[in-house]
């Protein structure tokens, strides 16, 4: 046998083990596999040293465009990550453990996730949170399925202002079920309430909205929640956690199930993942929640401890009747979210949210001073906003990419007739200088 990484036995040890087993060779252990089924080819390249491996990875990473100034969101946001987040979540006791099935030797993970659930509840104003889902889109899908279970109905209405990727994930999840998904086209970047009113009846399980929505618009769904509840249906809202430093919470609006993507809470962009999805609900719905939930309890001596609880909802016990098929979640990313929120702290999140909005408002004012550029005026915005360009946004974005500026998301691909619309995101990380450069280069691009 060749030497290999991370396989520690010496040839002598292998011999001793084979003798203890009573076989002559390692190959003999594979005798249960019928010989005609054995692999005929295996074409992977030969192995590398650790040094060569890292070198190769560096070369791959350098094939990406680096050092770009990002004014783009679409569900993932370039926020500050305090150094403590990497260091603490990088403790091997956290990242090399697994699901805390044995609570006595997993109190670190369990208490941290209980603190995470608490943070999500306090942030969103909801009564109960689980210990994380995969991402924002799958969280929307899980929330919809939860609403179907709770109401026993089979229709979901989705506001077209919800992130288009999340809407696609939702549709994929429900693709083979007997469920009707109706999308309502946006009206001036907002939920078309009149059209919704015409569709709301007692066959609807839930309405899914997003705040701020894909256009960046901030809305108040308090009246909508009342309207939906009058029909015994549920309101699901997808939210951007950083915005909750400032914006009214789903809990305050009367939302039943709140979801979102937790990437902005201490998780790097990493080309799209991992982040985590969060889901929180009114406490009455706890038994219909998907995924792991951590609960507080005591041991025989009365010492406080934490355990996985309400496991009878889950796939490893209830199999095909489980509330969800989820097993592995995104626990480490949720831990990063908790450490982020703890490091930034109560007032820090308010300040950070405010800074995002201040920078976005500054950028918006500068951009609309460009001749021919106007902003969508229908609603207030947080750190993203939609502008109208005098020409198609696709070409403008492509041109700015070549100047190392990611100018935003052109809407034409997602909404018919919006070819000239661009959604611009400004986080606290973008300096005034970067914003001014964006404005300058965008002006050049639209005036050409």
């Amino acid at each position: 046998m060749n030497d290999s990484h991370y396989c520690p036995h010496t040839p002598e040890e292998i011999q001793e083990m084979l003798s203890a087993i009573g076989v002559a060779s390692v190959e003999e252990l594979f005798s249960p596999i019928p010989s005609e089924l054995r692999a005929k080819t295996f074409n992977l390249p030969p192995g590398l040293s650790e040094f060569e491996t890292f070198d190769k990875m560096k070369s791959i990473a350098s094939d990406n465009g680096g050092g770009m100034s990002a004014f783009v969101g679409g569900g993932f946001y370039d926020h500050i990550i305090p150094a403590a987040v990497d260091h603490l979540s990088g403790r091997a006791e956290f990242y090399t453990a697994y699901t805390p099935y044995q609570p006595e030797c997993s109190q670190g993970t369990l208490q941290a996730l209980f603190e995470y659930q608490t943070a999500i509840c306090r942030l969103t104003g909801m009564g109960v949170s689980n210990a994380s889902l995969y991402d924002g889109g799958t969280a929307c899908a899980e929330a919809a399925m939860m609403a179907l279970r709770i109401t026993g109905r089979n229709k979901i209405i989705v506001d077209g202002c919800v992130n288009p990727f999340s809407r696609q994930v939702l549709k994929t999840y429900l693709y083979n079920l007997d469920v009707e998904v109706i999308e309502i086209a946006p009206l001036d970047g907002l939920l078309n309430r009149e059209e919704l009113a015409g569709m709301l009846d007692e066959s609807v399980a839930a309405v899914l909205v997003q705040n701020p929505n894909f256009f960046g618009c901030v809305d108040d769904f308090t009246a909508l929640a009342q309207q939906v509840h009058a029909l015994d249906a549920l309101l699901i809202a997808s939210v951007y956690p950083i915005s909750l430093g400032l914006l009214a919470t789903p809990g305050e609006m009367g939302v039943d199930i709140t979801v979102g993507d937790g990437q902005s809470l201490g998780n790097p962009l990493s080309f799209g993942g991992p982040s985590f999805g969060f889901i929180a609900a009114k406490k009455a719905h706890i038994r219909n929640m998907p995924g792991r939930i951590i609960g507080e309890t005591v041991d025989k001596q009365g010492r406080r401890g934490f355990v996985l609880t309400l496991q009878a909802r889950e796939q490893h016990i209830k199999r095909h009747k489980a509330t969800s098929n989820i097993c592995s979640n995104q626990g480490l990313c949720a831990l990063r979210g908790l450490i982020f929120l703890s490091a930034i702290g109560r007032q820090g999140l308010v300040d950070m949210a405010r800074m995002n909005r201040d920078k976005a408002e500054y950028a918006k004012a500068q951009l609309v001073s460009i001749p021919g550029v106007t902003a969508l005026q229908s609603a207030a915005t947080f750190n993203e906003f939609t502008i109208f360009l005098p020409k198609p946004a696709d070409g403008v974005v492509a041109e700015l990419l070549r100047k190392d500026i990611i100018a935003g998301v052109p809407l034409g691909q997602y909404y018919q007739g919006s070819e000239n619309c661009l959604v611009v995101t400004v986080t606290e990380k973008r300096s005034r200088k970067e914003i001014d450069l964006l404005v300058k280069e965008l002006e050049v691009a639209v005036c050409n």
Binding site: L310, Q311, A312, I317, K318, K321
Partner: protein, 124 residues
């Protein structure tokens, strides 16, 4: 005195006239361990004999409770919502779960009497 009948799935029904109260046997409650939740049906629901009527959870298990007889749900024992431990403490008395309006008492022939059930338990 109401007559008590049992299913092979360890449900019992106490029949009084045209109605019957349903629960699970002491044997089943013991096997399940500490009960943490009883999911009760909506009043007015109709079920066929041996269809799923309710569900019960312990820390590490979830089980369906099947209707011993066909009928309509007249009442449910709401107290189990807050005190599921009653099932462990008094499975065959206080922890009745559902009261059914029996639609076909001829179905009783598919159930076991207390003596038959005791014999059945010995075979498990």
């Amino acid at each position: 005195m109401a007559e008590m009948y049992f299913t092979k799935e360890h449900e019992w029904v106490k029949v009084t006239g045209t109605t019957g109260k349903v629960g699970i046997s002491e044997h089943a409650a013991h096997e399940l361990g500490d009960i943490t939740f009883v999911e009760l049906p909506k009043i007015g629901k109709t079920v066929k004999q041996f269809d799923v009527l309710a569900a019960i959870e312990s820390v590490k298990a979830a089980s369906d409770i099947f209707a011993p007889l066909s009928g309509k749900v007249l009442a449910v024992n709401d107290e189990l919502d807050t005190t599921p431990e009653t099932v462990n403490e008094s499975a065959e008395e206080k922890a009745w779960m559902v009261e059914l309006e029996i639609s076909d008492s001829a179905e009783l022939k598919n159930l076991m009497t207390q003596d038959q059930y005791n014999e059945f338990l010995k075979t498990l």
